[in-house]
């Protein structure tokens, strides 16, 4: 039982991060059909900016806020100077642009910050909490709580505000949204800013557990993308479910099967799911428009 719980918490922590990255993917994908491969770099920015501003003597909460603002600014710049000018281009072109942006951001981070690994102190100490025999870091609860908060906030925003509904409308049909007077360009900017903020929050929450460095985003983007595909690209609920599921698969795979094959195991499950349901667990059925 203790063992099971240990694996469970391990999986949930990692899964929550994948979920946040996947949410970022979803938000931008919905607004623009673009899979933003610079999503991982937002996570990196969140962690790195916090580390460096905190090291400069800024109190942690303020440093975290600065980091989120920086990431949002980068997200908006990315949209304004890379995505917006290529408006008419196909989704594939835009995706390639985001890959370029991610390489650029990583390179810049290498110069602006450094190439070392960095850590943040845990928000509330590092004495492990005993949960029925499983030792859990207090930071784990911050990650889980933070993720839940982001998900709820995003849900409320999308469902209860006019602006949020405009995002959903753009996601459903961009042309129709424009016809009813929605500024889809603004919505896209909003999506980039929003997903940058979500990414940065993820980065700040996990840095005390996982450490951070200029190139931490690459793998997170990959795992987050897998999570988004598993849950169904474009579905916020699917992103969260997919992220948590992927994290749990990895942890239980490592714990009960073999740590050597844990990634293979997780990806195998994803493959099987996608065979059975090509649009993911919660994906909308795609209708090909002619």
């Amino acid at each position: 039982m203790a063992e099971f719980l240990q694996f469970l918490f391990s999986g949930l922590t990692v899964g929550a991060v994948y979920a946040l990255v996947a949410l970022g993917f979803t938000l931008i994908y919905n607004a623009s059909d673009v899979v933003n491969f610079a999503q991982g770099e937002f996570v990196m920015l969140g962690g790195m900016v916090t580390v460096f501003t905190a090291a400069a003597g800024v109190p942690l909460p303020l440093a975290a806020l600065i980091a989120i603002c920086t990431a949002v600014a980068v997200g908006l710049l990315l949209h304004r100077f890379a995505i917006e000018p290529a408006r008419g281009a196909s989704a594939v072109t835009l995706i390639i642009i985001t890959i370029g942006a991610s390489i650029l951001l990583r390179g810049l981070a290498q110069i602006v910050f450094d190439k070392q690994f960095h850590k943040l102190p845990p928000f509330t100490g590092d004495t492990p909490i005993d949960v029925f025999g499983a030792a859990v870091q207090p930071q784990t609860f911050w990650v889980l709580g933070g993720t839940a908060l982001v998900v709820v906030a995003l849900y409320l925003f999308l469902e209860k505000t006019v602006l949020g509904k405009a995002v959903l409308a753009t996601a459903a049909n961009r042309l129709a949204a424009r016809l009813v007077g929605i500024n889809t360009s603004l919505i896209m900017a909003l999506a980039f800013g929003g997903s940058a903020a979500i990414g940065a929050i993820a980065g700040i929450l996990i840095t005390p557990i996982t450490l951070t460095s200029y190139d931490i985003g690459t793998l997170l983007a990959l795992k987050g993308f897998a999570a988004a595909m598993l849950g169904g690209m474009g579905s916020p609920l699917g992103a969260v479910a997919g992220g948590l599921l992927l994290g749990l698969l990895e942890a239980f795979g490592a714990g009960y099967i073999s740590s050597t094959y844990k990634d293979a195991f997780a990806f195998l499950v994803i493959l099987f799911v996608l065979f059975a349901a090509p649009n993911g667990l919660f994906g909308r059925r795609m209708v090909e428009r002619v």
């Binding site: 240990q6 391990s10 999986g11 922590t13 190439k115 996982t210 050597t260």
Partner: protein
């Protein structure tokens, strides 16, 4: 690509111009080449190597050069890419016409460059860790860093002294972790050790509690060894403390022998043991230690000029450069073949990595005394006295 006749003659002219300008210099120069991973994923190895080479070549030239000639250093950055490394190696041999090469940051880039220097019969002193660089022995290839096999042996020696014979292992799946794991598994029986359980983690994994829980629940594990590199071992160490496993002795490898490991792992690093070069504990070595002088001088020179904490990787470059320079001095020549023969005859060279005694069958020349067993105490390294 077609070469333009115009460009070719221009090159020839350039070469001639260089040739003509040569006698103007009082003593002439000797070209030493280097290909390092100054940028890219191995940049934390390549950068101190690059800085060390530049700094010491400048110093050597300021004090009159070697064998009556000034050293001209040609450094290329391969970005950690073995393909690029090979291209640059060819360039060093064919265009720059270097006499010797000190470089090759990673085992991957080194292995890619070996054939080039073997064919050209130019001595190549590698700065890479892998044992395959010098095993089997190649006529023109040498190396300075300790091998992962030696690290395993050093750890196992310490385990044996503490009468711990049943161990668990958790290793990274990256090149370094996988290679050291294989070496450890190979030499464990010679030390009468039994590896009860084995786990692994990806180089970018962020949580290893699942693997450690398995080791924790395996009956009879008396110590845990973690061959790994980068941030992985820091996370493993933190998870180890999180799971309350600190009662079981925990060994890291020389792959994490830098201050940043202690910083990243924090409180959890207390009591962790690891083998490392003397350079890391320069100020803690007893006065009568043969390496004391070399390592303190290198530390002082590096830290005062570069303004960064010293790392063992820069030390490997220092060793490589000076083994080469001393060989040139002994040969009193800069002929590649004569220099090679003298490198092989290196005896009693005191470097930052240990005392080097090379031979025709040993192109590394270090023994286990090159490693010191360290324990992390109070956020700093402490030498483990033999017998404790």
């Amino acid at each position: 690509m077609k070469s333009l006749p115009g460009a070719k003659s221009l090159l020839a002219f350039g070469a001639m111009a260089v040739g003509l300008s040569q006698p103007v210099l009082a003593q002439g120069t000797v070209k030493i080449g280097s290909v390092l991973s100054v940028t890219g994923p191995a940049s934390f190895l390549g950068e101190p190597e690059d800085k060390t080479l530049r700094m010491y070549v400048e110093r050597i030239n300021a004090s009159g050069g070697v064998a009556g000639k000034k050293i001209e250093l040609v450094i290329y950055d391969d970005g950690g890419d073995a393909n690029k490394a090979r291209t640059f190696a060819t360039r060093l041999v064919e265009d720059d016409k270097v006499v010797a090469m000190v470089g090759g940051t990673t085992t991957g880039t080194t292995m890619a460059m070996i054939p080039v220097f073997e064919d050209a019969q130019i001595p190549f002193i590698s700065l890479a860790g892998g044992i395959e660089v010098v095993e089997p022995v190649r006529k023109f290839v040498f190396k300075t860093p300790h091998t992962d096999k030696m690290a395993c042996e050093k750890i196992f020696e310490d385990l044996k002294r503490r009468n711990l014979t049943k161990i668990g292992m958790i290793s990274g799946t990256d090149g370094f972790g996988a290679s050291m794991r294989a070496q450890c598994v190979k030499v464990a029986p010679t030390y009468g050790l039994e590896i009860l359980t084995e786990e692994s983690y990806g180089p970018r994994d962020s949580d290893m509690t699942a693997q450690l829980t398995k080791i924790k629940n395996a009956a009879g594990v008396q110590a845990v060894v973690n061959p790994g590199f980068g941030q992985g071992p820091a996370i493993v160490t933190r998870n180890y403390a999180q799971l309350g496993m600190t009662g079981t002795p925990f060994y890291q490898s020389h792959g994490v022998a830098s201050k940043s490991f202690i910083e990243l792992a924090g409180q959890a690093a207390e009591g962790v043991r690891l083998p490392a070069a003397a350079l890391l504990v320069a100020d803690k070595l007893p006065e009568n230690d043969p390496q004391k002088k070399v390592v303190t001088e290198y530390t002082k020179a590096y830290e005062s000029t570069i303004k960064q904490p010293v790392s063992t990787f820069g030390g490997h470059a220092y060793d490589g450069l000076f083994i080469l320079v001393e060989a040139m001095k002994r040969a009193n020549s800069t002929d590649a073949k004569k220099v090679r023969d003298e490198i092989e005859k290196t005896k009693g060279f005191v470097g930052t990595g240990g005392i080097v005694n090379m031979s025709a069958t040993d192109h590394l020349g270090l023994d286990l005394s090159a490693f010191r067993m360290l324990e992390i105490k109070g956020g700093d390294w402490a030498l483990v006295q033999s017998g404790s």
